[in-house]
Amino acid sequence: MAAIELSDVRKTYPGGFEAVKGISLPIRDGEFVVLVGPSGCGKSTLLRMIAGLERITSGTVKIANRVVNNLEPMQRDIAMVFQNYALYPHMTVFQNLAYGLKNRGMAKSEIDIRVDEVARILEIEPYLARKPRALSGGQRQRVAMGRAIVREPAAFLFDEPLSNLDAKLRIQMRGEIKQLQKRLGTTSVYVTHDQLEAMTLADRLVVLNTGEIEQIGTPLDIYRRPATTFVAAFIGSPAMNLVKAHRRSGAAVFGDASLPMADDIASGMEVTVGVRPEDLTVAGTKDALRLTLKIAYVEELGATRLVHGTVDGQNLVASVPVDCPLGETLEVHAEPSALHFFDPQTGRRLN
């Protein structure tokens, strides 16, 4: 177990493309950090640089206080779980788990003990003699996990390990990974493009975009106070509404509604206002801050319904209870505290 420290890590490909643009990130011992972002944001490249599968153009990567920039993956004492599992197809489950230990010159009796222990933890004992192709997707995933755990490495690196599973299994495995990591207390770096997976797993979330960090924080922090419009739109489902508004004496004017906005927020005449669909509630008679949503269509989710519509020509989604009656329009209300203000030029948070 060990802390990992990235200082100003960059990756420039021979063609000149900058995949990772100077990322610094300290990861504490035993922490579960999730790197999340859309495809091409550099999250996988960053992970592979930690693993030693990708050369580091500049900056340093430290694992357990040791600069590992020029070390082979094996010497870094890490283990990795791949998206397609990368199980050796011609080896049995047992041999898959044992391979890394054997290469490290571990005694056979010791290997047997370790593999059996891990197989017990992951409940894959009945399959030890099988080849990967005789296993279901979920079982293969467990074997891939097992291969990482059995090594007892300083850190686990996960590269979208759940994206090849169906939705139901993904949720189940997500829970198991979380539990297992808590139990073993091994420092983990996990890459995913799925924001929900990121939220549920992370101790700390790192949102990446075009090779740079947009925001670092606990899942709740990030959900409650997204630092940029990118993060606001990326984290949370359904996505946060982002609409343009004008500023006028202590308020942001949007359609016929005026949203209260503290004067001390420095910005120009335009402002981007963010509000989550679930923060838009059906307006009561007392609510002063109301918007008239012209309904375009409705999505039934069972527990709630998503009302898609327009206000002042801008798209807006509200999440409302299923029992609320719907006509041509819907009056919705938002608490001032639920409003997020962003600079429309830089996308940075204002309040």
Binding site: P73, Q83, A86, H90, N103
Partner: protein
């Protein structure tokens, strides 16, 4: 099939049966001829029904051969063919898989040059460079030796390309996983790549065994010592024997024995063979 047309199916069967018979006819006649005594070929038309000399003819060929032809007994020539075919097949596979591994899994200066040098071998069949190749082999004192029979035929661009093609389909993650597991390049080759290439190796082996066994021009050139004759080239010597009338019965016994091993290999490993054939040409 889209619609049911019985006459079309019957017609297809007829075409196929005719095809099978046409293809098999020469071999049938060869076999029939190998069961007769030499006198049955003196005049008239060749026999089309089996004769009584099957065992005599094959026994004579295998144990003694045709003494006047100066060729050794057939078992000796078949053994030579076997050694040559095995050396060619194993040698080609070994050097091809190693160079394909280097081409795909390493980046090194002159890699492009090496690739092109290998590619060129495709364009230089033995037939077009007979004389100088013969001279090289003679200068290396490899005439009348198993090494001379096999080594000059071992370089193969097709086998290298087949392995290269296959290696490119092996997921990168397997290589990465093995690196994380602490495998060196040669350990990765031995523990992961070689086992994964098993079917390709087997398929290629079938093709190359046939290729080696059926060599004709090369053994003809470089063997003057009968102890190194191969069976395929030996047929010619026997067919020429006694100047005028070849002893058809024993020549055809040789024909049957010469085709038997490769035909058995193809029929027994048809699936692998078809895979190997279709894939080497991709």
């Amino acid at each position: 099939m889209v619609e049911n047309r019985p006459w079309l199916n019957i017609f297809s069967h007829i075409v196929l049966i005719l095809g099978v018979l046409t293809v098999a006819f020469p071999v049938y006649l060869a076999f029939i001829a190998s069961t007769h005594g030499p006198d049955d070929f003196m005049s008239g038309v060749m026999p089309v029904l089996p004769g009584p000399h099957l065992i005599d003819n094959y026994w004579q060929m295998l144990s003694q051969g045709v003494s006047t032809s100066g060729a050794p007994p057939l078992w000796r020539m078949m053994f030579n063919s076997l050694v040559m075919a095995l050396m060619i097949a194993v040698g080609k596979i070994a050097i091809s898989i190693l160079s394909a591994f280097a081409m795909v899994y390493f980046r090194f200066p002159l890699r492009g040059v090496a690739f092109w040098l290998i590619f060129i071998t495709l364009m230089l069949p033995v037939e077009v460079r007979i004389m100088p190749t013969f001279k090289v082999v003679a200068d290396l004192h490899l005439l009348n030796s198993y090494a001379g029979l096999s080594i000059p035929l071992i370089a193969s661009a097709t086998a290298t390309f087949l392995f290269r093609q296959f290696f490119l389909t092996v997921p990168d993650e397997l290589t990465e996983a093995s690196r994380v597991d602490g495998a060196t390049p040669m350990m990765f080759f031995r523990d992961i790549l070689l086992p994964l290439s098993r079917t390709n190796i087997a398929a290629l082996f079938v093709i190359l065994f046939i290729y080696g066994w059926n060599q004709y021009l090369w053994p003809l050139l470089i063997t003057t010592d009968p102890q190194y004759y191969t069976v395929v080239m030996g047929i010619k010597r026997m067919a020429d024997v006694a100047d005028a009338i070849p002893q058809w019965n024993v020549v055809m016994a040789t024909v049957i024995l010469a085709m038997l091993p490769p035909v058995v290999v193809v029929v027994a490993m048809q699936r692998l063979f078809v895979k190997g054939l279709v894939e080497t040409e991709k």
